[in-house]
């Protein structure tokens, strides 16, 4: 058939489906969960696909995105950073200016509206740096829902102010003292809560991970990042970017950045992991928290500890759609160390007066390095997924440790 041969996917453009087939992106994704959750997941998929098309839902989402969250976020041409990177044009997508301080609210808002439509007044989530917990607490307050937030004791220690804020927003914060006491364990606990309260509780997953339909839902709510980038460049009379760069922890902000450019073959994608938690660049295929994806695991299939400075990147798995992008070659993934990320942080602070989240600092560092290899007129967009205030303590402690300014 002529049409199908014309749309024959090249290596660079595998079929990126809006709706994953059988809950899968290629071989990745799926629904590897206890039986008790299956009916809930199936209902969620069905309800979401219906609600998503409702004008009332979309209008409310649109209006709160604009007036509550602060969308569209600017696409900022970083002049001094570009000069530093020898003339490539670097744009920053300013998700750091959103309510709550990161892209995380895009997703939390969308799902909280969904929870309200589904008449679940109890919302649970797991959080790493507390960013997703904070966003969840905010939108739950906004919509009059009760938020219950699971957070590892280790993460709580390093991200105290986020915890204080959640409490001021009247969320209930549960300390997780099991396992490595970080995000992975908080997720285990949230899943256990969900298993127990699946009838009346909405599980608000913070990124494009977990069992289907979550990766799809989160990506749908985060794709506003890439959609805006496209519109903003074109409205400026620019062409499409040559390269999109985004940090990948679980991968929500990155998939939101990349996805809308999936069919634009000339736009390359660079996902940046923390070297200390590099599931895509150093991991192997496995199943965790409901999805088949790349994991940091040992030869026996046990998950391995991660230790990135950036709490949100400190996770042994990654969203399944990225696993698919990697395997198909659509995106390239590289790893950047915590020290390199601090160098990215320093660059952005000193050249642009912007303090990025440590997560985003990984992308800044990688973007600048890559920029140096590109031709002068090329366009790079880096997703500045969050602001750095939450990381001050971590950075400060690190400075003390190394006895020097970063």
């Amino acid at each position: 058939m002529a049409i199908s041969s014309a749309s024959k996917p090249s290596v660079l453009t595998p079929k990126l489906a809006e709706l994953p087939r059988e809950g899968k992106f290629g071989e990745f994704g799926g629904q590897f969960v206890p039986e008790i959750l299956m009916p809930a997941l199936q209902a969620l998929e069905k309800d979401y696909l219906t609600i998503k098309t409702q004008a009332r839902f979309q209008n409310e989402l649109k209006s709160l995105r604009a007036d509550y969250c602060g969308r569209p976020t600017p696409l900022y041409f970083a002049k001094r950073l570009s000069e530093h990177a020898e003339g490539v044009q670097i744009y920053l997508k300013r998700e750091d200016l959103l309510h709550g301080g990161s892209h995380s609210v895009n997703n939390a808002l969308g799902q909280a509206l969904l929870a309200r439509e589904l008449q679940r007044r109890r919302v649970i989530c797991a959080t790493g740096s507390g960013e997703h917990g904070l966003s969840t607490a905010m939108v739950c307050a906004l919509l009059g829902l009760q938020a219950e937030i699971y957070m590892g004791a280790t993460d709580m220690e390093r991200q105290k102010t986020n915890v204080e804020q959640m409490k001021l927003l009247r969320a209930r914060v549960h300390v997780v003292t099991r396992g490595s006491q970080t995000f992975k364990d908080a997720t285990n606990e949230a899943l256990r809560d969900w298993v127990t309260h699946v009838k009346d509780t909405y599980y608000l997953i913070g990124s494009s991970v977990g069992p289907h339909p979550y990766p799809m839902i989160v990506r749908d709510f985060q794709r506003v990042i890439g959609d805006e980038i496209k519109g903003q460049l074109l409205r400026r009379g620019q062409r499409l970017p040559d390269l999109l760069v985004a940090a990948v922890g679980q991968g929500g902000s990155a998939i939101g950045t990349f996805f809308p450019f999936g069919q634009d073959e000339k736009v390359r994608f660079l996902g940046v992991e923390a070297a200390e938690a590099a599931s895509l660049t150093q991991g192997t295929v496995g199943v965790l928290h409901g999805a088949k994806t790349y994991l940091l695991q040992d030869e026996h299939g046990q998950l391995q500890p991660t230790r990135s400075l950036a709490a949100e990147l400190d996770y042994a798995a990654v969203g399944p759609e990225h696993a698919f992008y990697k395997k198909s070659g659509r995106a390239e993934y590289i790893a950047v160390s915590s020290d390199e990320a601090l160098e990215g942080f320093r660059l952005l602070a000193e050249l642009e007066g912007i303090l990025p989240a440590l997560e985003a600092a990984h992308a800044i560092y990688a973007g600048v390095q890559r920029a140096k290899k590109l031709k002068r007129d090329q366009i790079i967009v880096i997703t500045l997924s969050g602001r750095g205030e939450k990381d001050l303590k971590v950075i400060y402690d690190r400075q003390q440790l190394s006895g020097q300014a970063i």
Binding site: V33, M38, T196, Q297
Partner: protein
């Protein structure tokens, strides 16, 4: 279709005796491999009918604290899937007690479904339970399990509607694991309200060659009596056993505990031989 031998036989025998099966759980390697062996023999001596042997996993999302901590103790011992198979081979030297292995999916996937199935079969394991592998994701596993004669134990829960129960039964063999409650594993005082209605709803949907075992939160004789009276072919006691081991129970005392529970599986069995 190959059926696992010991397991089907044991259920058949129990049915003859109008007893339900006592299925007792051990975490392999908790507190270490040799003691797991001792405890397994103690359970058998006490009258447990089936051993459910858990393979430790770092992130057991369906489990409560008791089983999670047991898994961590086992992992700290360096115990992994192959060690679990080793225990089974050791046990098999002296025992024909049916053994089902419980493992989360990732360690299985890491080894490869087929090679895992083959090794289970070689070790004379009767069946496998994978708590995070619902039937939708289980097509290839079901094939491997069929090929290697392993019982395919799936779950049904209070959330599973009748149509779904029927479909699950179609992929299952050995027994259906009925999750009696909302929540994770862990012993509770009372039977969940959901347990009996669920049992009564699911019971009629089962094909005759599939047994029905009830688990999650069961630890006492009255609980066992209730579910057996309501028609369970087996009861699964996991956290209650593991908690006793964590407290350092002697094998003898564990035997006695099993004996006590086993009594409860005998008393209240309705006559179902015409089923």
């Amino acid at each position: 279709m190959i059926v696992s031998n010991y397991l089907a036989k044991r259920f058949e025998e129990l049915k003859q005796r109008s007893e339900a099966a006592l299925i007792a759980y051990l975490m392999a390697g908790d507190p270490d491999l040799s003691r797991t062996l001792e405890y397994a023999r103690a359970l058998e001596a006490g009258g447990a009918d089936v051993l459910e042997l858990g393979a430790p996993f770092s992130d057991p999302i369906a489990d409560g604290p008791v089983l999670e901590e047991a898994a961590q103790r086992a992992l700290r011992q360096g115990v992994h899937l192959q060690d679990v198979l080793h225990i089974v081979r050791e046990l098999r030297k002296s025992s024909t007690m049916p053994i089902v292995l419980l493992s989360y999916y990732n360690p299985i996937l890491r080894l490869g479904e087929e090679s895992f199935a083959r090794r289970c079969s070689e070790a004379n394991i009767d069946g496998v339970i994978i708590p995070d592998l619902p039937m939708e994701e289980a097509a290839s596993w079901v094939n491997q399990a069929r090929k290697y004669g392993l019982a395919r134990v799936f779950y049904a829960t209070p959330e599973t509607d009748n149509e779904r129960v029927r479909k699950i039964c179609e992929c299952s063999s050995g027994f259906l694991y009925l999750v009696s409650r909302y929540g994770t594993t862990g012993a509770r005082e009372a039977l969940a309200e959901t347990a009996i209605p669920l049992l009564e709803r699911v019971r009629p949907l089962l094909p005759s060659d599939l047994q029905l075992a009830v688990g999650f939160g069961i630890s006492t004789r009255p609980q066992i009596e209730s579910v057996v009276r309501a028609g369970a072919d087996g009861v699964i006691v996991a956290s209650a056993v593991v908690a006793r081991i964590a407290e350092g129970i002697t094998p003898e005392a564990l035997s006695a505990y099993a004996r006590d529970l086993k009594e409860a599986t005998k008393r209240s069995r309705p006559n179902l031989s015409n089923r």
